[in-house]
């Protein structure tokens, strides 16, 4: 049995401090199967912090049921989390646009390359995100069309409500998940909850999913809960509801609601004139899986995403 804290990348900061990227390795038994849980790439996403604690503490308490290696990387961008900054603080860089990085590159490129090298070779990697401060998301896994055949079976083990298979975009080639999937490490991107907050029920849901994944990988012989069958976006369209006006968004629909096209789902109001400046309607029928949490909006601000029913109309 091994539980240890390792520093996988380090860089000197200007004044008497090092930037350290650390992981907890929990290992037991003879199997070399390895699961990596990574989070904290964006400093304003905190759901993964609690989940990292939950998984680590539970495995340490029930280590006898583990046969394999679990690496937990709670903070890929520790200075971002520490300063409530989404990107890397000194550069205003989105760390998830710097991968795969470079051993011979700048400080952040070097750190990204070390992270990739350390995770690569895991049997599965789960990269946990929690939207941003603006939007709340139901627990979901996102993947691009080319990676779906390899990843979907694993995504279904994770106890999420929804799997969103989206078109690939060139700009996303700079993400950790793309880099690892390209190198043959199956990497699932989880989005759940909202930035700067912890949603205990979602963390619990993912906790059950991760134990189930470990069981399916043959790494876990302890208790597991029955996992839910996610809705998969394949063959369905996603409708985007964006504000056209500027003001304060006040929803009247709830997260997870099934709505019909044209249903009133909220208003954008002007606090100065006391007028409703936009009556917000559902652009299509379906389930609201993303809903705006932060009220101030501009024209273009995303208010909701709606997953349309599959052909035939019935919800699964």
């Amino acid at each position: 049995m091994i539980t240890m804290i390792e520093t996988i990348a380090t860089a000197s900061l200007a004044v008497n401090e090092n930037l350290n990227i650390q992981k907890q390795r929990i290992a037991n038994g003879k199997s070399r199967k390895r699961l990596s849980l990574v989070t904290g790439t964006h400093g304003d996403e905190l759901e993964g912090q609690y989940l990292a604690y939950m998984i680590g503490s539970y495995l340490n308490e029930n280590i006898g049921h583990l046969d394999g290696i679990v690496d937990i990387y709670p903070a890929l961008n520790p200075m971002g989390i520490d300063s409530i900054t989404r990107g890397v603080p000194m550069f205003d860089l989105d760390m998830n646009r710097v991968f795969p990085g470079s051993k011979d590159g700048t400080m952040i490129e070097m750190i990204c390359a070390s992270i990739v090298d350390d995770i690569a070779g895991s049997d599965v990697c789960v990269d946990i995100h929690s939207s941003n401060i603006f939007l709340k998301e139901i627990p979901q896994i996102r993947m691009s069309v080319p990676t779906a055949p390899a990843l979907l079976p694993y995504a279904k083990m994770m106890n999420v409500d929804f799997v969103w298979i989206h078109e690939s975009a060139t700009v996303l080639e700079s993400t950790l998940a793309h880099t690892l999937n390209t190198r043959g490490t199956k990497t699932l991107v989880v989005e759940m909850g909202v930035g700067m907050r912890i949603t205990k029920e979602y963390c619990r849901q993912l906790f059950d999913g991760i134990l189930n994944l470990m069981k399916e990988l043959g790494m876990w012989s302890g208790e597991t809960a029955t996992v839910r069958e996610p809705i998969v976006s394949e063959g369905r369209e996603v409708g985007f509801v964006n504000s056209d006006a500027a003001g304060i968004f006040v929803p009247c629909a709830d997260f997870g609601d099934t709505v019909n096209e044209g249903d009133h789902i909220g208003d954008v109001v002007d606090p100065l004139t006391s007028n409703v400046v936009e009556k917000v309607e559902a652009v299509c029928s379906g389930m609201i899986f993303t809903l705006r949490e932060y009220p101030v909006v501009y024209g273009g601000s995303l208010l909701a995403r709606i997953l349309q029913p599959s052909e035939g109309g019935a919800e699964e």
Binding site: A11, S12, L13, A14, V15, N16, L19, R86, G87, M90, F91, D92, L93, R97, G105, T106, M107, M110, N132, F134, T170, V171, L172, E173, S174, F240, N242, A245, A246, G247, I248, D270, V296, V297, Y298, G299, G300, S301, L302
Partner: protein, 307 residues
């Protein structure tokens, strides 16, 4: 000259954002010049304002060619400039990572779309660009190698160097890249500074743009003698990174020729002042970028050298 509102965006709490363009001449869309897209790009806005002055004078003298139109957009994101932020004030997104934009998309995608729809279709596109790290550049012009690239055109700016850059995935949403994809011959002009005004570099950038427009027959302008531009592949330039962290002091200035082994700068301990690292050049060449902030982390690009 016509001052036009190219795109507007309402704000919940501030005056409406109006992206302003200055149009000179009439006819064929010949050249579009874009300044600040980020809130700290003061030099970039300043160079554009100087271009407006120059083009006004040329227009009054009838020196803009017939059937040629030039558009200058000094500042897209003055909302961020006015409150001391770099990216879009509301959500910290970068307008120059949103092109070609989308009119039904998120706020900065809509701004990018509003701008791009007005500057698309020009034969030449010139962006006053900045670098994400604090530092000074030798004025130079850069082109992205998209396949739609005639790098020899960079020589018409008459700056000392023209650099060709192979686009990375994150470049595919920049203005420069998308201009080229939509068949505008696009250039990035680096006028040394970003959040301060460097008059000499601004002069050089203004003359370079005027020279380029003159060479393309869009205007008739007298400009100072030009360099014979040396074209370089960016991958062939050498980056010198800090091997330690602390207080950084440059011992050289941009534009200087250095030999392999020369000491370019020192890093000292921030508490006791001991020198912890000497930064030496690994190649012989000309310094074209120099880091300019007193504190430096390890593995930070502190000099770039054209071999």
């Amino acid at each position: 000259m016509k001052r036009k509102v190219l795109f507007s965006m309402k704000s919940p709490y501030r005056e409406q954002l109006d992206v302003i363009g200055f149009r000179f001449g009439h006819g064929k869309k010949s050249a579009a010049i874009v300044g600040a897209m980020r809130g700290n790009e003061v030099q970039q806005m300043y160079v554009c304002s100087r271009m407006v002055q120059e083009l006004k004078k040329l227009e009054a003298k009838g020196r803009i060619a017939e059937d040629c139109e030039i558009m200058v957009i000094p500042c897209v994101n003055y909302y961020s400039m006015n409150i001391g932020k770099r990216f879009w004030a509301m959500d910290n997104t970068d307008i120059n990572r949103m092109f070609p934009g989308y009119d039904q998309g998120e706020t900065t995608q809509r701004i990018a779309d509003g701008l791009f729809s007005k500057i698309q279709g020009y034969e030449y596109g010139i962006q006053l660009a900045s670098f994400y790290q604090p530092g000074n550049f030798l004025p130079h012009v850069k082109m992205m190698d998209t396949g739609f690239t005639n790098s020899d055109l960079m020589k018409d700016f008459g700056l000392e160097y023209g650099i060709i850059r192979k686009p990375r995935p994150y470049d595919t949403t920049t203005l420069n890249y998308n201009w080229q994809i939509w068949e505008t011959k696009a250039f990035s002009v680096y006028a040394n500074a970003t959040d301060v005004i460097d008059e000499n570099a601004a002069d050089e950038a203004v003359y370079a743009i005027l020279r380029f427009l003159d060479k393309q027959g869009i205007i008739t302008a007298n400009t100072p003698p030009a360099y014979v531009t040396k074209l370089i592949d960016e991958s062939k330039t050498k980056q010198i990174r800090s091997e330690a962290a602390g207080v950084f002091k440059s011992l050289i200035s941009i534009g200087k020729r250095v030999e392999r082994g020369n000491v370019l700068g020192i890093i000292s301990d921030p508490f006791d002042g001991e020198v912890v690292s000497e930064i030496r050049s690994m190649v012989s060449g000309t310094i074209y970028f120099e880091y300019c902030t007193p504190l430096i982390n390890s593995n930070t690009v502190c000099f770039k050298i054209i071999k």
